[in-house]
C-alpha cells in the first residue's frame, strides 16, 4: 500500500531515467546484429503506411464524431421506438468484433448487393461505423453529465429545444468528453491495423508485406511496435494533459 503520497523527488526521476536508458541500451545491444538496413531501404513504404494509418484514423473520427453526436441525441431525446432502435444498433456494433464489422462492409454486404466496394471507401466506411458507435456512447455520457439546471434555465429563458441542445448542452458535453475522445482516437489508431484484411497498406500491412519480401522479422516488428507506441503514447500524454487541465478548471 502506498503510504507516501508525496511526488517523486528529483533523485528518483534520475534513477528512473538511468534505468530506462540502461534498458534501452541492453535492448540495442541484443538487437544490434540484425540487418537494420532493411528499415532504411523500406522507409518510404513504412512512412506511407504510417501516413495511411493516420489518415484513416482522422477521417474515421471526423465522420464518426458527428454521426455519434446525432446517435447520442437520438438515443436520449428521440421517440421511444427511435431510442430503442438506436440503442440496439449501437450496442450490437459495440458487441461485434471490429474485424467482423470490417468484414460486414467489405465482404458481407457486397455479397448481398452483388457489387464490390473498393477498398478505400470500404475501409473508411467500416472504421467510421466503428467510430460512430463507440463515440455515440462517449457523447451520451457527456450529454448526461450536463447539469439539468442549465437545460431548465435555458427553457425558462425561452429557448427552443433545438437551441438548448445546440447552444447549451452540446458545447458543454463536448468539453467534458475531450479526454475520452482522445483516448478513443488512440483506440481507432490501433484498430486501423485491422484494415489489413481489405488490402490497404497501413502501417501494419506495410510491415507484414516487407517482411514477406525480405524476412527480417526482428527489426521490422521492433519498428512496428515502436511506431505504434510513439503515436499512441503521444496521444495518451495529450489526454493526460487535458485531464489535468480539466481537473484544475473544475
Amino acid at each position: 500500500m502506498n503510504t507516501s503520497p508525496r511526488a517523486p523527488d528529483r533523485r528518483r526521476r534520475w534513477l528512473e531515467l538511468a534505468l530506462l536508458a540502461a534498458l534501452l541500451a541492453a535492448a540495442a545491444f541484443l538487437l544490434k546484429d540484425y540487418r537494420w538496413s532493411v528499415i532504411r531501404d523500406a522507409a518510404p513504404l513504412l512512412l506511407k503506411g504510417l501516413w495511411n494509418s493516420w489518415i484513416l484514423t482522422l477521417v474515421a473520427v471526423a465522420i464518426g464524431l458527428p454521426v455519434g453526436i446525432v446517435l447520442a441525441i437520438l438515443r436520449l431525446e428521440g421517440a421511444r421506438p427511435v431510442r430503442a432502435a438506436v440503442a440496439a444498433v449501437v450496442e450490437i456494433i459495440r458487441a461485434t468484433p471490429q474485424l467482423m464489422v470490417i468484414f460486414w462492409v467489405y465482404f458481407a454486404v457486397p455479397s448481398l448487393t452483388g457489387t464490390r466496394i473498393p477498398s478505400w471507401p470500404a475501409a473508411i466506411l467500416s472504421l467510421s461505423v466503428i467510430a460512430a458507435a463507440y463515440l455515440a456512447e462517449v457523447v451520451r455520457g457527456g450529454l448526461r453529465a450536463v447539469p439539468p439546471v442549465l437545460v431548465e434555465s435555458g427553457f425558462a429563458t425561452g429557448l427552443t429545444r433545438g437551441q438548448v441542445l445546440a447552444h447549451i448542452v452540446i458545447p458543454q458535453a463536448l468539453r467534458t468528453i475531450i479526454p475520452a475522445l482522445v483516448s478513443h482516437i488512440v483506440m481507432m489508431f490501433k484498430i486501423t491495423s485491422l484494415i489489413y484484411i481489405v488490402g490497404i497498406t497501413d502501417f501494419f500491412r506495410a510491415v507484414v508485406l516487407i517482411n514477406n519480401r525480405v524476412f527480417e522479422p526482428v527489426p521490422l516488428y521492433t519498428v512496428l511496435a515502436a511506431g505504434y507506441f510513439v503515436c499512441c503514447y503521444a496521444l495518451s500524454c495529450a489526454v493526460r494533459r487535458f485531464d489535468k487541465e480539466a481537473a484544475r478548471l473544475a
Binding site: 458487441a95 461485434t96 460486414w104 455479397s111 507506441f229
Partner: protein, 210 residues
Amino acid sequence: MHWSVLATYWQAILHGLWVTVQITVWGGIGAFVIGVALGCLHQLPGYLLRRAIDAYVEFIRNIPAVVKVFFLYFVLGWEGWESAVVGLAIHQSAYICDAVDAGFRSVPREQAEASWALGHSRLEVFRYVLLPQTWTVSLPSITNQLIEVLKNSSIVMLIGVQELTFQAQQIETDTFRGFEAATAVTAIYVVLAFAIAGATAWFERKVARR
C-alpha cells in the same frame, strides 16, 4: 439470400465457435490473473516496482493486439493457438491492471491508516479491508475487458486460427454467401458478449450480497 448455406456449414461454424470460446476462456483467465496480480503488486510501497508496472501498462496499451499476436507468431515462431491465447492475455492484462488499480484508489486512504493504527498488519489490511471493497468498482470494467478478449479473439484468424471470423471468411470464399455467414457469426458474438456481461452481473450481485 440463401440461408441454406448455414445448414451446409453448420459444423464449420460450430467448430469456430468452440475455438473462439476456448481462446476467450484461456485468454480471459490469463488476462485476469496477470492483470489482478499486477494491479495488486502496484499497491506495494516499492517505487521502482510501481513505475515498472506503469511502464508495462503504458507499453501494452499503446500497441495494437494484432501486433502482439503477430510478434509471438512470426518473430518468436510460436504455434498459432499459443500466440493467440498469450497475445490476447497480455494485451488485456494491462487494462485489467488499470481497472484493479482504480478499484484500490477508490478506497479512502484513511481506512488503511485507521486499520494500521488498530494494529493490523499490512497483509491483513490488504486482504480484509481493501481487497473486498475494490470489486464493486473494478468488476464492471473487468467485465468489459473480458468482452474485449472475446472481440479481439477475431483477429487471430489473421494467423490462421480457425475461429468464428475465420469460418465466416471461409464460407464467403467458398460460396460467396458472406452475408448469411456474417449474420450468423455476428449473432453468435453478440450472444456470447451478452452472456459474459450477464454472468459477471450475476457474480457481482453475489459478491455485493455478501
